[in-house]
Symmetry: C2
Subunit: 593 residues, 2 copies
């Protein structure tokens, strides 16, 4: 049973907003997480809260080695408490590998790194603790014949002493901007990577980025609802959330968080379906699924990580100086989110995979008359490309626009338009004598890159739109979800306005004006729901660990108490004597003239 209710949330400056919310907080939690997941989360939160190991002073300055130790200790506890069975499997697995390797070394192999650049950076946990690694290497037999890439399980450190084995150079690569609990190392071995297998990783990274965004929004929206500044009269100050500008800075990201909450779950299910298909080897089109999930993952990661990056930065700025204090956690969230833009492929580079997928469908249709229809249906609408390209924006009033069907229709046109333009541009480049490598490079900016982003935004919006219009979605939640969906669609679309005009989907002054007014209208309609909407996404105060983001909204009390309990707050600096001594005697430094 859910044992947390609005009535259970601590009382304070946020009450006024919670009372104005248009929906039941409890119903939304039940709808989004489900009873089981909610209870499991509460169990994990309680477990962590009851263990002093997880109690951190907000903003404390922890040296890297200490961070890694804490990370190691908490992983051990996590493994012991949460997944005993898996740890058991893992231990058995390691033994099996060790046994196998014990035999192999006497046969099978010498692992060599040809030069310094073959060193591998960024291997998780390898810098300080891993005892074995899987190394991908070209296999040469004594007759100098290369048998291609093979994988080898290589012992790196003595598991009893953690000292590196002879011939192995492995160490720490230094401090990163964030994620410093995780060590990364360098075993001087070049890894190859099987690209297909990475889709699950990218889908999961999309979700990790969303988690950072949700935490940042919880901090910034609670702060904005509690913090008062200026007002219509000299004596009255109003919460900064009441300002149009503050709403416009934050509430679209809240809508994006809800859109991505639904989207990341749905693509995870797609990936699972693909994996099951592979395992069962049934008649399902696993090759088609694999290609489509690859196209989805290569663009969902950029969408999720960039939305989080920009959203966290906006939250940081929207909290002013308080957002710049480390204790309020927005800096850590930004740093921890940052690698999501880079690992498992640079965002900009990955987008090329997605656009190639879309272009290949168009090509197959034009050359072979193939019907455009994919296992997860993200490209099906392209079959009607010619009709869609003839459509135009028809909304006449702001009321017409406050409906996700409007941006959804615009996105369908946008993807069709960018796909056609990208294909034309590619043909043009080839016709001008460029080889394939150069032709593709010259089509990225403004064409293929925009195409891939528009495709994934459309997919995310489409699935959110389906959720909000689905009869299975509780009627009491549909109104607020519909507003969030319309806002997400219009706000995302607003970054493509020039293209809508360029291709004549829009013309004249009205369309841009209507969309902008609809965005502001929706922000204003959602501001009374904003606190309740982040209550749904927020973990407990202990986990959030941000004085200005506490559920009771008592920002100054929490700030004050955290500041006063910081290390050596009121103490003189240890170097005070140096500061006070050796002061120049008055006049002694006067230029000797």
């Amino acid at each position: 049973m859910m044992n947390r209710d609005v009535a259970d949330l601590p009382s304070g400056p946020l009450d006024v907003y919670r009372k104005k919310a248009s929906f039941s907080w409890k119903d939304m939690v039940r709808f989004i997480d489900g009873e089981d997941v909610y209870l499991f989360k509460q169990h994990v939160f309680r477990t962590l809260e009851n263990d002093p190991l997880f109690a951190r002073q907000p903003g404390e300055d922890v040296p890297i080695e200490k961070k890694r130790e804490l990370n190691f200790l908490s992983t051990v506890i996590h493994v012991e408490e949460v997944s005993t069975a898996r740890f058991d499997d893992f231990t058995e697995g390691v033994q099996a590998y060790e046994e196998q390797w014990g035999e192999s070394i006497s046969l099978e192999f010498v692992i060599n790194s040809p030069d310094f650049e073959a060193a591998k950076f960024w291997v998780g946990n390898l810098g300080k603790t891993a005892t074995h690694a899987v190394v991908y290497a070209q296999l040469y037999t004594p007759d100098q014949v290369c048998h291609g890439l093979h994988s080898f399980v290589v012992p790196l450190r003595d598991p009893k002493t953690l000292l590196a084995l002879p011939g192995v150079l492995v160490g720490d690569m230094g401090k990163k901007l964030g994620q410093n609990g995780l060590d990364n190392g360098d075993p001087k071995k070049r890894f190859g990577a099987s690209l297909g297998a990475l889709s699950g990783g990218r889908v999961y990274i999309t979700r990790m980025a969303l988690i950072n965004l949700k935490l940042a929004l919880t901090v910034a929206i609670r702060f904005s609802a509690a913090r008062r500044q200026f007002g219509p009269t000299d004596t009255e100050e109003i919460p900064v959330l009441e300002y149009q500008l503050q709403q416009w800075r934050l509430i679209p990201y809240l809508a994006a968080a809800y859109a991505l909450e639904n989207f990341t779950k749905s693509i995870l299910m797609n990936f699972v379906e693909f994996q099951i298909g592979q395992m069962l080897k049934d008649n399902s089109d696993t090759a088609g699924m694999g290609r489509e999930i690859h196209a989805i993952g290569c663009s969902s990661k950029p969408l999720g990580s960039w939305t989080a990056q920009r959203g966290i930065q906006e939250c940081r700025e929207a909290c002013g100086g308080h957002g710049y204090l480390a204790m309020n956690r927005l800096g850590d969230l930004r740093d921890d989110n940052d690698p999501n833009c880079t690992y498992e492929g640079d965002n900009n580079v990955l987008l090329q995979q997605t656009s190639s997928y879309l272009l290949s469908w168009l090509h197959a249709k034009q050359r072979d008359g193939v019907r455009i229809e994919s296992p997860f249906h993200t490209v099906d609408f392209l079959e009607e490309s010619q009709e869609i390209l003839k459509s135009r924006f028809t909304a006449l009033t702001v009321d017409d626009c406050v409906d996700s069907a409007v941006p959804l229709a615009a996105y369908k046109w946008l993807v069709c338009f960018l796909l056609e333009e990208s294909q034309k541009k590619l043909e043009q480049e080839r016709a001008s004598g460029n080889d394939d490598f150069e032709a593709r490079n010259n089509c990225q900016v403004y064409y293929c890159r925009s195409l891939a982003m528009a495709y994934i935004e459309h997919t995310c919006l489409q699935r959110f739109h389906e959720l909000t219009t689905n009869q299975d979605t509780p009627a009491g939640l549909r109104p607020v979800l519909r507003k969030l969906c319309a806002l997400y669609g219009l706000w995302s679309l607003s970054s493509h306005m020039a293209t809508l005009y360029q291709g004549s989907y829009w013309s004249g002054r009205k369309p841009a004006e209507l969309v902008q007014m609809a965005i502001l209208t929706l922000c204003s309609q959602l501001k009374d729901d904003a606190v309740a909407l982040v209550d749904v996404l927020a973990p407990t105060d202990f986990i959030l660990n941000s004085p200005i983001g506490c559920a009771d909204g008592q920002i100054y009390n929490h700030l004050w108490s955290t500041v006063m309990q910081g290390s050596k707050v009121l103490e003189r600096p240890s170097w005070w004597k140096e500061f006070c001594s050796d002061k120049p005697v008055l006049g002694s430094l006067r230029p000797k003239l």
Copy 2:
């Protein structure tokens, strides 16, 4: 005499680009900095390089207290070596205050903070070391009459012991995201601030942001010229700077850095002119100057700090995983730049001051027939508003567009259009019954905010355009400067494309396409100059302190050497025993079924 030349720069992978540069590196340094400033900079760099206090291991993990101590020690050296005379004045000043205060305390005053929220956060150096503060407070006489805001010099700590004096609560407010060398404190006194006096600060912050951007660009462009990845054939890898996408990500920010280099100097001169006018009390229009420099500073700070924020983030991502390593410094630059968006006024809030200034000119003209002409000429073109609003985009080819006159004309139209729209919107809001406070709030997003940004971008572009067309600018530098100026103008303009269509300055498919193609053309033309252009902006390797940003471009050698010399790189973690002991016995954790 300049003693550093291309020939003096260390040889390496960057040579190929330096040789292709279209201009003389030395001439550009002489033009931008001038001989005196160049020599002074070299002197400062040498002084710092010769003092072990300033030698920092890239990316090392320095605790906050140590950072503050290093900051204190380097400030002392700085003061002793560079400005002995000023330090002398300062000491005398303190004595004078102390003497005055010694008398005052027995007369004039009790300083009280009414409540907790009256505590002052963010006072530089107050957290740990300042001995006196200037406190702004309401003066109440015993008859309970309030005499308004007065300033008081208040002793806080005993200068001999650095212990806080009785009745004073002052301490450290905790770790910030960056700038942790500077301590910030809280003397429980509310500060008032004289808004006008802050213009100098904002102008200076614009320049500080630029310095961060220049350092980040130096790292990212040298890295991109040295780092090779993929290529037209399987065997040949090409520098990533050769990719259109990489050029488009970085080179517009390089153009922005050159535009801001010129702009920040010019507005600093405007501010100095204003101050001299105030001191001389001559016939110059100091009130008009004050209002205009306020409007400039309130928008130049957002322009500079946001351009740097986005540029540094792009540099970080463009360097991939290497950009995420703390040793390469992009994270520190981002964190150190971040408060520029917030202090001396939140960027979004400050922009309202600028738009109000512009609206007041329009109002004065319409009501009183005033001619629009300001001391620093940033608004003079608004006098021709009606003719400008009739103008249209006339470029027909990409060649037509590769000229800063094209975006400059578009910007003049844009400012006039947004000014008129903002005024209309404001009148509309008032007519619908909103009070002035609400009417102004409802005009910020899409209207006043965009107006202020377009105004300052226009001013920056106008002044860069004048520099590149000025006959005093060396002929050998004008071609590259003209390209930078055109690129900056077109790239900035591209964020306003929807508005250009909306107001019919643009129509049809062509204008957006021409501008986009012109941007890519300029990026491609400037890529061979990019390394030389950052050589001009870069400090010495010692000061830059980024392994992947070194002048010799030997990124892997520097990375390797920095990694290997890091603290405890190859050592086991101190907690290794805990890791190795207490391992569960195989099978012991198997579920007891």
